[in-house]
Symmetry: C2
Subunit: 127 residues, 2 copies
């Protein structure tokens, strides 16, 4: 499998507070986001915190989606990481932002797995 | 809980190929990395791919640790994300790099949850 991947970091603000605290709904949104993007779901693990907040992950064949929600701040911290070039992580990230009714979405995309920085050997020639 | 977090992205190359393909060992390394950093483990989910490679996550009270391993390339793609200022994600990331015998480690740290970019209103004064 190719190491090259795309990692979208999405900071969602002013989300629907009730949704941010509803673990079952978040789990469904995340599985649906993976499927809408064309990913293959492998593992699903979510956790509800007391008094509030949800953390969770969907492991896909192509890497993962994660969330940490902070209902008290209307904030959700999202990662969508996909390996290969078949899946666009922005499709899943945008689906999640819409499903959580985020009014502000700040996204950045990082390349992953491009390979170590190579230090090229100086070419020696005899003259 | 504070939204502010630290997200360490760690690209590990020239790792021990046998370890990268050993799901049980990776799971133990990741749980230990979380504990060494002082985190509280909440959920653990790992998946072994055929013919090779492991993906997995440890959800901690303070966010998460993830791995995607590519034994055929000696590569492991690591994320360690911790909320609050009690835990240093670099402690876990460095533990993982050492445990996987990585010869090359490329790390970057991203701040998370700093709040949406505010557009300040122009101050109006009457003169």
């Amino acid at each position: 499998m190719e190491t090259i991947g795309r990692h979208v970091i999405s900071e969602l603000w002013n989300c629907n507070v009730d949704k941010l605290n509803d673990m079952e709904m978040i789990e469904k949104i995340f599985v649906d986001a993976a499927l809408v993007a064309g990913a293959e779901v492998r593992e699903v693990a979510f956790h509800k915190f007391a008094p509030q907040g949800v953390s969770g992950v969907v492991i896909i064949s192509e890497s993962h989606l994660t969330i940490h929600s902070f209902p008290e701040h209307g904030y959700a911290s999202i990662d969508v990481y996909t390996c290969g070039d078949r899946i666009d992580p922005n499709v899943a990230a945008d689906y999640i932002a819409k499903a959580l009714d985020a009014e502000i979405s700040e996204k950045m995309e990082l390349p992953r797995g491009l390979g170590p920085v190579q230090i090229k050997k100086k070419q020696m020639t005899s003259i």
